[in-house]
């Protein structure tokens, strides 16, 4: 008798608990999704602690950290497409990558990703080069690392000697002369944009990750637009003997067939020295500001 | 050569906090070949300790023991013995058949011989139906019978059985007694421990009573029973058909029978009256 009563109470309780469970599990999922990146990553112990604890799982833990960063970044890139802008927590991503590369200094994903986000988005080309030069000690067969480093020295840091040194190394390792050419070309101002397009093209072709490729292609598209403006600007100067005042002048003079579109949502303009720039600074982060 | 020869065996267990427990005190005992020896004692008297020393599971603190002339705790000694542990348990993921094969191989028996003996013994101990089921699903009585089976398979000279009747129903007990009597007929030596006096009366030639680690008495079962007799209850029938029970003094039995025959009384039944094995056992245990 007693037992039956208890069982009947449970028959009643279970649907109520099920409804409660559904409510709570969705609320929980929503909260977990909205947490900032640092929280999503969870507590990362110091690299040395991880190294001691990981045993023969160091490479796995490194890859795991990188995948976390990648998912986070991939998610943001997708949101950006829908014009929903959340400022990315770049420092936390950078710290995580650093930890991952300490655990597995051979992991190419780490260097690739460091190069992809540290340079334009974060404006820390020097830091990216630190990563790359650390990696070259381990991945001594890989031409990508000196190729990236060479580009960073040339394009961002304007350090010609180091750029040439790295491009030469990349050429040696890969057996391709292209990098030597690149090294020469960036000396001209117009060459900078070409070099960036070539670099982004190489990056994007090597990218297996859809979200990363999208990011790179977006940037490449921006540079192609910028290159069009540069060409129009040069044509204008040829004809008038002076720089155009604005992008609108180029449109009015039919040097540009249609208004250039910044895929980052910014507006192209001509700087005082005639360089093509955008209010977005070629990053979503910049466009948001 | 004795089948089992125990000389001045001492065993001291070190309990917690360094307490000394004297489980055995200079125990000496000989069991002859072909003898059935009952090792009788209350719980905790030292029966299992003695048996474990014989099987080399624990070491004696002092003294020595031999089985068929081989010092205990050697493979050679164990090779001569079929051992049934107290409340035995066997690898329960195996079937009875597999376990017997394992035991047989351990005694270096030929595969064909193992198969033949195993079939025979499984049938004898009524485990035939269950032989292909894992031991995990066996009842307590079945495990006990399997314990006897694995002691029998290699047909040793000496059997050491620790509480062989425990966990068995009356049918099982009868079966085990039957097996023991059969072994006796084949000239085997059996040393078994028990705390049930009726078992000793039923099958043993000799009995040793152990209490508090000391061997108190060793004697022929027949002697003990004979000594305990104080008189007889005799049932006689008168020529008219009326029957009557009479108590006859121990010394007077012969005379009574002669008188009865002379008086044309028919003697139907003579029943010894007096202390039985249980009373004997209780007396010894209580006295010390």
């Amino acid at each position: 008798m007693m037992a039956n009563k208890v069982v009947r109470t449970f028959y009643f309780a279970i649907p109520v608990l099920m409804v409660g469970y559904l409510l709570s599990v969705f609320a929980l999922a929503g909260y977990m999704k909205s947490r900032p990146f640092v929280e999503k990553l969870g507590y990362i112990p110091t690299v040395n602690t991880m190294k001691v604890m990981a045993g023969d799982h160091k490479q796995f833990m490194g890859a795991n950290l990188l995948l976390k960063v990648l998912f986070y970044y991939g998610g943001l890139a997708e949101k950006a497409e829908n014009k929903l802008r959340i400022p990315a927590d770049y420092p936390a991503m950078s710290r995580t990558m650093h930890a991952a590369l300490k655990l597995d200094p051979y992991n190419m994903d780490g260097y690739y990703f460091a190069q992809a986000i540290l340079t334009w988005d974060l404006g820390k080309a020097a830091l990216a080069n630190e990563f790359l030069e650390y990696g070259m000690k381990y991945r001594d067969w890989d031409w990508y690392l000196p190729f990236y480093a060479g580009f960073n020295y040339a394009y961002f840091l304007k350090d010609h000697d180091n750029a040439a040194r790295h491009y030469r190394r990349a050429a040696e390792l890969s057996g391709q002369a292209l990098f030597m050419n690149l090294a020469g070309r960036y000396m001209r101002e117009s060459g900078r944009t070409d070099m960036a397009i070539a670099y982004l093209d190489a990056m994007a072709k090597g990218a297996r990750q859809e979200s990363i490729r999208k990011v790179l292609n977006t940037r490449k598209a921006a540079f192609i637009e910028a290159r069009k403006i540069e060409l129009a600007r040069d044509a204008y100067r040829e004809k008038h003997g002076r720089l155009p005042g604005s992008v609108e002048d180029l449109l009015a003079g039919r040097y540009l067939k249609q208004a250039p579109q910044d895929p980052y949502g910014g507006r192209f303009y001509l700087a005082a020295d005639g360089n093509v720039a955008s209010t977005s600074g070629f990053s979503f982060a910049g466009a948001g500001k | 050569m004795h089948a089992i020869d125990i000389t001045n065996l001492d065993k001291v267990f070190r309990g917690k906090k360094g307490a000394r427990v004297e489980a055995l005190q200079s125990l000496s005992l000989q069991v002859g070949q072909g003898e059935i020896f009952g090792f009788l004692g209350p719980n905790g008297a030292g029966k299992s300790t003695t048996i474990k020393i014989l099987m080399g599971l624990i070491r004696a603190t002092a003294g020595s023991a031999r089985i068929m002339g081989e010092g205990v705790a050697t493979c050679a000694a164990r090779r001569e013995v079929g051992y049934l542990p107290e409340n035995p348990s066997f690898y329960d993921y195996l079937t009875a058949e597999e376990y017997l094969r394992f035991v047989g191989k351990s005694f270096d028996m030929q595969a064909g011989l193992i198969a033949r003996k195993s079939d025979e013994i499984l049938r004898l101990l009524e485990l035939w139906e269950a032989r292909k089921r894992p031991i995990r699903g066996y009842s307590k009585g079945m495990v006990q019978r399997l314990g006897l089976a694995q002691a029998l398979i290699h047909d040793p000279q000496v059997y050491i059985l620790d509480e062989p009747m425990s966990g068995l129903d009356p049918i099982g007990r009868a079966l085990v007694k039957e097996v023991i009597r059969d072994l006796k007929l084949r000239g085997k030596t059996i040393f078994f421990s028990t705390h049930i006096t009726a078992d000793v009366e039923a099958v043993c030639d000799r009995v040793g009573v152990i209490s508090k680690g000391k061997l108190q008495v060793v004697d022929q079962v027949a002697n003990i029973l004979q000594r305990g007799v104080e008189g007889y209850m005799v049932q006689v029938t008168h020529p008219g058909g009326r029957s009557e029970d009479r108590f006859v003094e121990k010394e007077d039995l012969q005379g009574f029978i002669e008188r009865s025959v002379a008086a044309h009384l028919a003697i139907e039944r003579i029943e010894p009256k007096g202390k039985d094995m249980e009373a004997f056992f209780l007396e010894i245990v209580a006295n010390r």
Partner: protein, 263 residues
Amino acid sequence: MFNIVAISLRAIFRDRVFHGILVVASVFLIIPSISSLSMRQVTELSITLSLSLLSFILLLLSISLGATTIWKDIERRYTYSVLSLPFERSTYIIGKFLAVALFLLLTTLVLGTVACLVVWLSSSIYPSERPIVWSNLVICIIFDALKYIILVSYAFLFSTVSTSFFLPIFGTISIYFAGNATQQVYDYINSPVSSSLPLFIKKGAVVLYYLLPNFSAFDLNINAIYGIALPVKAVVLPSAYFCIYTMLLMALATIVYCRREMK
């Protein structure tokens, strides 16, 4: 000896732990799809994941089997019936150990083959820039097994002294972590960073370094994943170390077990 090995192997195969591990091993099936998440090193990631999963499964096996085999026989009172059979206790304990070691090797063989298939599959879908050095991968997998066999012999040693399963299980887990850390700690002690540490701590750490197993020596993951050249010494020295270390531990375990009283 063979009899004990056979019976113990049968115990492992009929154990539920073994079936649980088979379920865990099914994770191998999703490795190719996880690996494809990598940006630049799908094959490398598939090797990383396969090696980690294999190592994890072997760890579970060596702790669950190594620490419970001896203990279970005592706990369930199988020892009375088994040790009274005519073989030496040393035969019993070494037979048991060989069964567990053999089972680990068998698991390694099967799961290692699965791992190689997974890697091959990943590399055929997304060819890698770095060629896979299969010999490195195979040696790395074998060394994984050797490492866990050392761990099993520790588990056996702990089982022979202990009456409960706490010491075998937690002792073995501690040895696992300690064995992985010794090289790191030793390197740290020998680096200038550690100059502020008291001398006795340094000395103690060095003593421990030579006593505890050095599992880092059996970690050839880098060579397997990134195809980095494997020096002969890196294979020969750990192999010799494995043989001697294991035999030493098992000799100790046997001595302790032979002296033990089966109350």
